[in-house]
Amino acid sequence: MQTPTALVDACHGVPSADLLQVVLDALQEGILLLDARGAIVCWNDWMARMSGVDCAQAQGRTLPEVFPTMACSRVIEAVDWALRRGLPSFLSASLNKVPFPLKHEGAPIEQNLYVTPLDVPGRERQCLIRIVDVTSVVEKEHILRRRAQKMKELAMIDPLTGVANRRRFEAALIEETRRHRRRGLPLSLLMLDVDHFKAYNDTYGHLAGDECLAALAAAIATVVRRAGDLLGRLGGEEFAVLLPETDRAGACAVAEDILTAVRELALPHSASSSSDRVTLSIGVACVERIQSSAACELMAVADTALYEAKNGGRNRYVCYQVDSECRAARCCAESGAAPQAA
């Protein structure tokens, strides 16, 4: 700390250089002064501590000479604007990652920089750089961002099974339908319904019913793994699978794999008239290319197919193909026992 003499000078109305240095060193931000050719005139204590380079070592050298990584950087460009054109610059932390190599307790410091020209009478223009530590602001924003993202995701997920909820699924269906119209690649939709689910709840209780749904969702998810495919729970015991860029053969293969995966789960269901275990019925709807401008309800077609699967004995899938005029025609089915060709 400085001696009282420095302060006494100040009392006469003119702050001494010592006093000003004391003030600069007390600041919790970086202050640097560069001369007309960009050489460091001085910098304060904060700068010395955070850079590991004290003022005496830095004096007379340019910034790239002290910090080689700073050559041709945005900072040097800003210093140039200040010295040559007398224009100030602001460098934000989000666009400039750690412009000065500064660390606090081992961690890099995120910085906002203020580069301003200094016109001192009788001297060539100099450049003042002020560095503000904004690490905590940046961290806080990242946390808030992640939290907002998480909340958004939660609003799109079914809490019981962890798969997409109805809102997310319907939004995805709309988007995929639009994309299908534009690009002409086939689109398929599966509607899945757990067979005799009410009876399951009545027999084993609602808690077991919930666990059953969660287990089914997990099993289906092992089949629906391709990026772009989406599994959603529409409500109750109803699920749906969206398969973009998938034709009839592909969709039926997925339906078959899902039925197999569920059968292999072997969840006992004593109250089911279709099987000794929990099974699904699946309605498959596929469209090659929609030409007409009429809104084509892929979900309604899949629903019709599902209804047929139920009526046909459950534990199976039924597939409908939609032609370019949005007319649906049944194309194939698979029974619980053995697969049949269409």
Partner: protein, 201 residues
Amino acid sequence: MIVFDEIEADALKEVFNIGVGYAADSLSRMVNEEVRLSVPRLRLVERLDTLDALDLPSHSNYCAVTQRFEGDFNAEAVLMFPGEKSLELVRMMVGETVHVSEMNELEQEALTEVGNILLNSCVAVIADMLGHRFRCSLPRYKAGQWRELLPEPGQEEQCVLVLDIDFAIERRDIQGFLIFFMKVESLDEFRRAILSYLERF
């Protein structure tokens, strides 16, 4: 009163185009992505209150970056982009894809920096033209209705230069305005200074 004829206005516009070109290079280097800036149109009005005649689109919300100048000539420069477009611009510069609808503090600062780079390049053009010395303030961020973002109309003869700004990044085009409010001793002198500068090109 017409201060510049069409040919002069065109030549003036080209000078600014060169100026913002440097800003575009700077921005491109910062994000490692091609940023293109241009001034598709330049208009000059005598007084602040004639700005209404320019029919600036009245979006509900604008984001702005401003810098003040003092010295041999006094001026204020305001760069404005419509609110949602500002958000797009900043998000593309920063590279974030989170869809939260408000601009946070860090994004405001990023926009301030982008504005500062653009403003500095245009101010340098004007300084070259008028050959004056001046001091310039650090950039400030403001948001609101566009009328709220403009300085108070003054008594002296004013010169209001309105540049349409086209900001292109990643196949997106964002339109904004850069408005210079200058207090000039006389519009004639201002015109003469600029014309003699243009002759050098």
